[in-house]
C-alpha cells in the first residue's frame, strides 16, 4: 500500500513541467492539510528542524494501524509534511518499518532525505519509524 501511494504521488508530480507549478501544488497541499491545533504545537511534539519546525503526533488505532498527524510553521515544509503523512498514515507498524521511501527523490523535491536536516523532514520520517517500532512491540506483547 505504501508503495502504491508513493507511485500515485510520483504520477501526480509528473504532470508539472515547471518548478513553479510543482511548488504551487506543494503550497496548496500545505494549505489544505488539517494539521495540529496551536495547543498541540508544543515542544513535546516537536521532532526537529533548524529553519522550519515540524511537529508530529502518532497513535496506534484499534484496527492495528498507525494514525499520523503533523504540522510545520513553514508552508512549503507543511506541504511536504502532508505528503509524508499521506504515505504513512493508516498503515500498520509492520508496513511502515518495511517500506522503502523513495518518492521525495523521485519527484525531485528533496534529493537526499537523510541529509536534509534543515527542514525537519528527515527527523520526521525517523520519528515515524521510531513510533512504528514501539507500536509493533506493543502489538507483539498484547
Amino acid at each position: 500500500m505504501i508503495e502504491q501511494k508513493q507511485q500515485e504521488i510520483i504520477e501526480e508530480f509528473a504532470f508539472f513541467e515547471e518548478w513553479m507549478h510543482k511548488y504551487e501544488h506543494i503550497i496548496e497541499l500545505g494549505k489544505e492539510m488539517k494539521g495540529l491545533t496551536e495547543e498541540e504545537k508544543k515542544d513535546d511534539l516537536l521532532v526537529a528542524g533548524c529553519q522550519s519546525k515540524v511537529w508530529l503526533k502518532a497513535s496506534l488505532e484499534e484496527n492495528g494501524t498507525v494514525k499520523i498527524e503533523a504540522d510545520s510553521d513553514a508552508i512549503i515544509t507543511r506541504g511536504l509534511v502532508a505528503l509524508v503523512v499521506s504515505v504513512f498514515n493508516h498503515e500498520t507498524p509492520h508496513e511502515i518499518l518495511n517500506a522503502n521511501i523513495h518518492f521525495m527523490n523521485d519527484i525531485g523535491l528533496v534529493s537526499n532525505l537523510s541529509q536534509t536536516r534543515s527542514n525537519g523532514l528527515a527527523a520526521m520520517v525517523k520519528q515515524i519509524l521510531l513510533y512504528a517500532t514501539v507500536f509493533q512491540a506493543q502489538q507483539k506483547s498484547n
Binding site: M20, Y23, E24, I27, Q51, A74, I75, T77
Partner: protein, 410 residues
C-alpha cells in the same frame, strides 16, 4: 571615484570568480550568501592547486628543498597579515581553524585570568561562536555572564554599556559587524570603555575583514580574530592576532608537536610565538593561498568594495520596501551590504526555498544569533548579503525573484 566609475571597475571582478559563472536549476546563479562565505577568485584556486602540484611538504621541520619552499610561502602569508593588520610583530599572528576556533582558544587560555564574581561581557547581537564559549567560561569560573543589550534599531545600547561596565569586567568580547543584520558597531568607543575598565578586549572581525581596513594599533584591542573564507580566502583557516606580551604570558592551548621546545619524560618546555599556539600540521595550502586573497583585497581596495556593496545595499533596500508588509531589520546608515528582512505571515524558509529555485542563493533562519532574534520578537529572517563581485543586475534578479516568491506564498 564617482559611482559610475566604481560600478564599471567592480563589474570586471565577477569574471575572476569561476563559481559565479554557472547556472543552477537552469538559471544563472546569483550568489547573495556572502556573509556566510565568499566565493574564491581564480588566483586563490590556482594557488591551492599549485601548492599540491609543486610545493607540498610539511613546514618548519624538514631539511630539504620542498620543506624550505613551503615554509617560506607559509610564512610569507604571516608577514602579509602582519602588514594588513598593522601588527607590531609578525609572531603576533596565529593561524588556526577559524573564528570559532579563535574564541574557543581565547576562552580557554584566559581561564586563569577570571575569578569568581568577575564579569564577562558580550553583546546581545553576537554570533553564537562569540557568545557560548564565554557563557561556558563564566559558568565554569562562577563569573557573571553579562551582555550589552541591542536596541530595536539593531544597534548597541552604548549608554547601558557606559553605566554598567566597571572594573569588575574581566573580558569584553564583541563583533565589529553583525552577521545577522550588517550593523557596523562603534567598536572604538566600546574598546575605550572596556580598556579603561581594565578588561581584556576581544574583537570578532569575521564580518568586517572584507569591508574595512584594519589597524590593530589604533583600535587598541587585545585580540582580533577573523576567518579567511569571509574575505575571498580558503575555508578552514582562522587568523588570531593578539598583543605579544599577552600571548607570551598566557598558557598554551593545544599540546603536541611544533609547539614544544624540549620534551623529556620529566617535563616539557614550550616553543616561542607563534608556534606555541600552532601545534600539529596546519592547513598549509589554505595559509599559502590566503596570501592571494590578501593581495586581491588590497588591489581592489576595501574602501571601493564597501562603497560598491553599500550602493547595492541601498538600491536593494529601496526596492525591497516597495513590497507590502515588509520588515527590513536594522534599516540604519551604519551598515555593510547585509539585508535582513521578513515578509509578514510568510516563513523565511519558504522564501529561501523559492528564491533558490530561481537561482538566488540567500540564507534563511536565525543565522546563529538566537538572542538577537528573540530581542526583535521573531526567530529569524531572510538574509541577502553582497560582496564586491555582485552587480546591480544581481539586485534586479533578486528583487524580481523575491516578488514572484512572495506572490506564490500569499
Amino acid at each position: 571615484m564617482d559611482n559610475d566609475t566604481l560600478q564599471h571597475k567592480m563589474r570586471e571582478l565577477k569574471t575572476q570568480f569561476p563559481a559565479l559563472n554557472q547556472t543552477v536549476y537552469g538559471r544563472p546563479l546569483v550568489y547573495l550568501d556572502n556573509a556566510a562565505t565568499t566565493q574564491k577568485p581564480q588566483r586563490v584556486i590556482d594557488s591551492i592547486s599549485e601548492y599540491y602540484s609543486k610545493w607540498n611538504a610539511n613546514i618548519h621541520r624538514g631539511a630539504h628543498y620542498l620543506a624550505n619552499a613551503s615554509t617560506e610561502k607559509f610564512e610569507a602569508t604571516r608577514s602579509a597579515l602582519a602588514e594588513m593588520l598593522h601588527a607590531n610583530f609578525r609572531e603576533e599572528i596565529i593561524f588556526n581553524q577559524g573564528s570559532t576556533d579563535s574564541v574557543n582558544m581565547l576562552s580557554t587560555i584566559l581561564e586563569n585570568e577570571v575569578e569568581e564574581g568577575d564579569e564577562i561581557w558580550v553583546t546581545e547581537m553576537e554570533h553564537h561562536s562569540n557568545f557560548v564559549p564565554w557563557q561556558m567560561l563564566a559558568l565554569k569560573k562562577k563569573a557573571h555572564f553579562r551582555y550589552i543589550p541591542m536596541l530595536p534599531s539593531g544597534e548597541w545600547d552604548l549608554d547601558y554599556a557606559k553605566n554598567e561596565i566597571t572594573d569588575r569586567a574581566k573580558i569584553v568580547a564583541f563583533n565589529w559587524v553583525s552577521n545577522a543584520l550588517g550593523t557596523v558597531n562603534p567598536i572604538e568607543e566600546l574598546i575605550r570603555l572596556a580598556k579603561s575598565a581594565g578588561a581584556y578586549v576581544v574583537v570578532d572581525g569575521a564580518q568586517a575583514v572584507a569591508h574595512f581596513d584594519i589597524n590593530v594599533q589604533t583600535l587598541n584591542c587585545d585580540f582580533f580574530l577573523f576567518s579567511a573564507h569571509k574575505m575571498y580566502g580558503p575555508t578552514g583557516l582562522g587568523v588570531l592576532w593578539g598583543k605579544k606580551e599577552l600571548l607570551e604570558k598566557l598558557p598554551p592551548y593545544r599540546y603536541g608537536g611544533e609547539m614544544i621546545k624540549k620534551v623529556s619524560v620529566t617535563g616539557t618546555t614550550f616553543n616561542v610565538l607563534p608556534f606555541k599556539y600552532e601545534s600539529g600540521t596546519p592547513n598549509i595550502e589554505a595559509v599559502i593561498a590566503f596570501n592571494e586573497s590578501i593581495s586581491f583585497c588590497k588591489e581592489v581596495g576595501r574602501e571601493n568594495m564597501h562603497a560598491h556593496e553599500y550602493f547595492l545595499l541601498k538600491t536593494a533596500t529601496e526596492r525591497l520596501k516597495e513590497i507590502e508588509r515588509m520588515t527590513v531589520y536594522a534599516d540604519i546608515p551604519n551598515k555593510v551590504g547585509v539585508l535582513s528582512f521578513n515578509v509578514e505571515d510568510i516563513h523565511s524558509a519558504d522564501i529561501g526555498t523559492l528564491l533558490d529555485q530561481q537561482g538566488i542563493a540567500v540564507r534563511t533562519g536565525h543565522h546563529c544569533t538566537q538572542p538577537l532574534w528573540e530581542k526583535l520578537g521573531t526567530t529569524g529572517s531572510v538574509r541577502a548579503s553582497f560582496a564586491c563581485y555582485n552587480t546591480v543586475e544581481d539586485v534586479e534578479l533578486f528583487i524580481a525573484a523575491l516578488n514572484k516568491s512572495v506572490n506564490m506564498l500569499r
